[in-house]
Amino acid sequence: MMRKLWSSFLRLFRESDRALLPADSRQVRPLTIVVAIMCALGCLAGLSASAGFRAADTWTSDLKSAMSVVVQSPRGDADLTRAAAIVGRVAGVTRSEAMSRDRAKELLRNYGTDMSTTIDALPVPRLIEVGVVAGQTNVKADIERVLKAAGFTVTVDDHSRFTGEVLRTSTLVRIVAILALVALVVAAIATIAFAARAALETRREAVNILHLVGAKDAFVAREVQIRFLRLGFVAGLIGAGVAGVLALIGTLVFAFGASDFTSGAPLLAWTDVWILLIAPMITGSASAIAANMAARATLRDLV
């Protein structure tokens, strides 16, 4: 049973020796390689777009679920604790914690440049770390309002500047990836169309004979189409396989040498496997359609 299934699966990739317009093996191999490479690049572009989307999503949702309140006055430890308690009662706030002077200093130090000598001279910002339900609107305004009512002067930072930046960057990455994908698809279609035309021209005598025994153009075009469907599907399988392996290697390299920044965006995620799965089908059907249209156009030029 399995053997039979397997052999009928293999038959998909072998041309029947009854094919009326047989493929030219000298043409098939290089063409398969070209289309496979295009498909692999297309898959990588698709995976990049998706990974970019995922990374941006992770970052922005991290940023969106947190705010910081900078208390300008009054700045005493007890005042800060009181302010944190007030913020904790605002709807949509999940966590509200006053930050100690030492941690705030640490945070400043972490900004990278060595300011250890000057930092002690700077006024330490008094901060409240706030966790919020992501997507909840008005939380920022509510916090500002209640603290002002309690006599505090504050600024609330909801990171909107950062999330905007991240979204812009990730959108740009996705647009570039999608443009690359479109360019690859166009190139692949043009390649197939060219090959289909060449295939018909080299088999002109066979095409003439088929016409003379009563074949319609649609029939001849279908014979060509079947061949290119097979070629596109096989090339798509190879290309998606290669892209999968490359993405896996990329993911592993990132995982082992990862900084905090990059580990958020593995190139290959389980949710992206569908890109690799549909690639052969898209390549196969695009190639079949391109071949069919090119064949019909070529046949119209014949007498």
Partner: protein, 244 residues
């Protein structure tokens, strides 16, 4: 486009082929036919003779729709072949069986599949024609070679494959260009018998040949070409020179 023009149908009674002052000039400038006029009755049996280069194959090419006339009007099954749309040609061609002078078999296909070609281009399932193809191949003496490739056959055997392909679909018009040129007299007679059988089934048959013995014995009407001009045709008294 309406159904009638899509599948042109020949209405019985009129001539199946009608040429009116037809001329053919090839791209090279050769005038292969000039001023050719004649009619073939539906259900007739005709020979086409003439010296080599006289234009016999050219005339037949017009009749099997491989060529359009350069001058004049040619009608087939009542359809003007000079102006017939490309989409109408397949339906017309399916009513015609052709034995090409150079056979024109597909070299990569077996004998069986070459003969089955007219069915395959119409998407007829294998089970509907397998037996007919086998029978016919046995009849032309190739029963043992159905899986052979054309290149492994002799010229005469290839010719018989071409003949089997031409008649297997029971065409209403059979056109044969030198169908007995490469076979021994016994097989030649057998092939002519096959054509006569088809003719009895109602087909119109046109055979181009150099075999004047065969023509004389049959007593069938003759079209004679000389240097691209018709010098004898049905309805014209034999021996009288055609004048227009």
């Amino acid at each position: 486009m309406n159904e009638k023009t899509r599948t042109p149908r020949y209405r019985d009674g009129g001539p199946i082929v009608r040429f009116d002052k037809v001329g053919v000039t090839y791209g090279s400038g050769t005038q292969a036919l000039r001023n050719v006029s004649f009619e073939l009755e539906s259900g007739g049996f005709y020979f086409l003779t003439g010296p080599s280069g006289a234009g016999k194959s050219t005339l037949l090419k017009l009749m099997y729709l491989a060529l359009r006339p350069s001058q004049g009007r040619a009608q087939l099954f009542g359809v003007d072949i000079g102006s017939a749309s490309r989409d109408d040609l397949p339906m017309l061609r399916r009513q015609i069986g052709v034995v090409f002078q150079d056979f024109r078999l597909l070299p990569h296909l077996s004998v069986f599949d070459n003969v089955a070609m007219p069915f395959r281009v119409r998407d007829v399932p294998l089970s509907h024609y397998a037996e007919d193809v086998d029978d016919l191949l046995r009849w032309v003496g190739l029963g043992g070679r159905i899986d052979a490739l054309p290149e492994t056959l002799s010229g005469g055997e290839q010719q018989r494959v071409a003949i089997a392909r031409a008649v297997v679909g029971k065409p209403s018009l059979l056109i044969a260009d030198e169908p007995t040129g490469n076979v021994d007299p016994e097989m030649g007679a057998r092939i002519i018998r096959l054509f006569i059988e088809l003719h009895k089934l109602g087909a119109t048959v046109v055979i181009a040949t150099h075999d004047l013995d065969l023509v004389r014995r049959s007593g069938a009407p003759v079209l004679q070409l000389e240097a691209g001009e018709l010098t004898q045709f049905p309805g014209l008294e034999p021996g009288a020179k055609a004048r227009r």
